[in-house]
Amino acid sequence: MKAWFATFVVLAVCVAFTGLLAVTVWDIAQTPALVQLPAMVAEKLSESGVKNPVTAVLLNFRSYDTLLEIGVLVIAAMTGISMARTPTLEDPELRTSNELLFALQRWFVPLMLMVAGYLLWAGSDRPGGAFQAGAVLAAAGVLMRLGARPMNFLRPGILLRLGLVLGFAVFLVVALASAFAGEAFLDYPEGWTKVLIVTIEAVLTLSIGMVLLALFVAGPVNEYGEEDDPV
């Protein structure tokens, strides 16, 4: 009885909240925004070095956001790995000798790698970019994990950590280098903008793919003979 009442109250509150929010959204929608940022972006797009305005915003105008965002990814992956107590993050139980999966893997993984490459390359001019590419890369990894391919690079040792940190580190190094060359951090020197952005994107793709894959496989179930935690 009491539980029903509580549920009812919560639902009522949520409905009221939705209503209030809808009214506010409607209200805001009546007037145009006071500043038209898209016009500014379009104006400065040529200076940004890329043709895709979203990429320009992500990796040039608001690159600091993106840097922190990659930080978030690394943090999540790191915490995930810290939960695992095994020498490898792989789950051999999952490894099957399923013919179908094996065939899928043989055909799909190269295809996915190609797609990832395309997305990365396209990112600067057309829709696409490091995150999308990285996700596809990770998906390829997942497929490999389900198949028979052992993935030794996923040992939570130095290699994995190096992979995780690579994109992030390159981003930082570019920031540093740009500061030496130009006015400010992440202020890419003229003419180099596109090269640097594409470089960053490429390493990021690798790193993001690895992070996502690590997060996927770092599920802490696959522990064999975990030591009793001495306290």
Binding site: L20, L21, T24, V25, I28, A29, T31, A33, L34, V35, Q36, L37, M40, V41, K44, N60, F61, R62, S63, Y64, D65, L67, L68, E69, G71, V72, V74, I75, A76, M78, T79, I81, S82, M83, R85, I158, R161, L162, L164, V165, F168, A169, L172, A175, L176, A179, G182, E183, A184, F185, L186, D187, P220, D229, V231
Partner: protein, 487 residues
């Protein structure tokens, strides 16, 4: 120069994070100690810069607002940067010796620590609503990671609860940001304030959403339940970081928002509600702190109470005279600083005491007074600041808030301040008392190394002496949540 100092604050900690990620705990320790030195120097450098040059805005990547992300470097931000440098260095120094370097998962401590520092600095400086959101999320995830590292069941439970609550808080904040962007089309806080003042647009719901989300993340009563388990179960240096700095980040953003946008968008009811909830936190948090059996839980619940005071900022700065508002802002800033120092000292000292008596219970402290442990003394001195007794920073904060509430005619907050001080005395003296008990069979007492004991003592002395050097600090604060003009 400015560019390099800004980079020193924002990017160098990230670099330390990247380096320590590749190292073991022991090696990471050396790198981190070096890093702390560098960060402290950079922080002091920025401080001198602001003293020399005054407040300024700095566009990151050469892009000014509204297109790019702009940093706002003013007295308040510098105070928080310096506070972070102090408390984080203390906790990091302590952690390097305190944490067990044989545990394989401890190597994740340093990168998380550095990510946290980087994100804290970014929150203090950023003047961009969305960038603040990303900064907050980095802080949340690192804090959760730091609590969960080690992966014991109770740590996981605390970390999960913390994560879920914090995520919802962030969502509320982000929703507010989305609405603000819809209305104004910009994300720079300074530009939003100008537009709002020019056009007189009321944004009560977005502001309420953002403040609500941030209040949840700052563990405002009645959404405080996640804090004590998380702060209590974490390792002591981590608890110090969490109580001292992490909780303050979301409050800091709330305060900035309120003082920039509150005059137009805030309402008296909202301010009073926040004040009342803060007061309830003071009373309820203290009461629960009194009832805890575990030492660190006492300290953690005390954080709930102490954070409650901060929310008096909202009623004391709305529709009051400029002077009263300034007094309230100064009082709250002081409260943040002194609480961070005192709580850092308390958690570190509690960690040492637990190490000494090999138990986390309050009652296990019986007879400890006989061994004249240095850490007990640090704990006691930090307690003076929590109780708001002179000459501590807590006292100065209380004094300023008292003045503000009496001058604004809202005398009921004065009563809350006084009652809160007494309530905190109850739980602080409970611990003192436990240590004075004479008839205990405690004959074995491990004295931790002096270097481990020195850190909390320094923090405690800083908190205690803060009240006497308030004037220079408030001068730096100037017009704390200032009216600085947009370049």
């Amino acid at each position: 120069m400015t560019t390099w100092l800004m980079a020193g604050l924002l990017f160098t900690p990230l670099a330390w994070a990247a380096i320590t990620l590749l190292l073991s705990f022991r090696n990471g320790r050396w790198v981190s100690w070096l890093g702390m030195l560098v960060q402290v120097l950079v922080s002091v450098g920025v401080w001198l810069l602001v003293v020399d040059r005054g407040e300024f805005y700095h566009g990151l990547g050469g892009w000014d607002a509204p297109l790019g992300i702009e940093l706002r470097v003013d007295g308040l931000a510098i105070i928080f940067v310096l506070l972070t440098a102090t408390v984080a260095t203390a906790c990091g120094w302590h952690a390097g010796m305190y944490l067990d370097s044989d545990k394989p998962w401890q190597k994740h401590f340093w990168p998380l620590f550095w990510f946290l520092w980087a994100a804290l600095n970014s929150v203090w400086l950023s003047g961009d609503l969305f960038n603040l959101y990303v900064g907050l999320e980095v802080i949340t995830l690192t804090a959760v990671g730091l609590v969960a590292v080690g992966g014991q069941a109770d740590a996981l439970r605390a970390a999960l609860r913390y994560l879920l609550v914090a995520l919802v808080g962030s969502m509320a904040y982000l929703l507010g940001v989305a609405l603000v962007y819809g209305e104004f089309g910009v994300l720079s806080l300074a530009v939003v304030r100008e537009l709002q003042a020019e056009n007189g647009v009321g944004m009560t719901l977005p502001l309420a959403l953002m403040l609500g989300g941030l209040a949840v993340k700052s563990a405002l009563f009645p959404m405080h339940g996640w804090l004590p388990p998380a702060h209590g179960v974490a390792k002591s240096p981590v608890s110090g970081l969490m109580s001292g700095l992490v909780v303050k980040a979301s409050f800091y953003i709330a305060a900035r928002l309120w003082l920039e946008l509150g005059h137009e968008a805030g309402s008296l009811a909202l301010a009073q509600v926040l004040g009342v909830l803060g007061s309830a936190a003071v009373v309820w948090g203290s009461w629960l702190a009194l009832r805890q059996k575990k030492l660190k839980q006492v300290v953690a619940y005390s954080s709930v109470a102490q954070i409650g005071y901060l929310f008096l900022l909202f009623p004391l700065t709305l529709s009051v005279s400029e002077a009263v508002s300034l007094q309230a802002q100064q009082g709250v800033t002081l409260q943040v600083v002194s609480h961070a120092l005192a709580k850092g000292a308390m958690f570190l000292a509690a960690g040492n005491l637990i190490l000494s008596v090999r138990s986390g219970e309050v009652d296990a402290l019986a007879g400890v007074g006989r061994f004249l442990p240095f850490s007990l003394f640090s704990f006691g001195l930090a307690g003076v600041s929590l109780m708001g007794l002179p000459p501590s920073g807590g006292f100065a904060a209380k004094w300023l808030l008292l003045q503000a509430s009496l001058a604004s005619g809202q005398w009921w907050w004065a009563l809350v301040l006084l009652a809160g001080g007494l309530l905190s005395a109850l739980y602080v003296f409970r611990i003192y008392q436990a240590s004075f008990v004479q008839d205990s069979d405690l004959d074995e007492f491990y004295h931790p190394p002096r270097s481990l004991e020195l850190v909390p003592m320094i923090l405690a002395l800083l908190a205690l002496g803060l009240g006497l050097v308030v004037d220079p600090m408030l001068t730096l604060l100037g017009r704390p949540f200032g009216e600085g003009s947009v370049p």
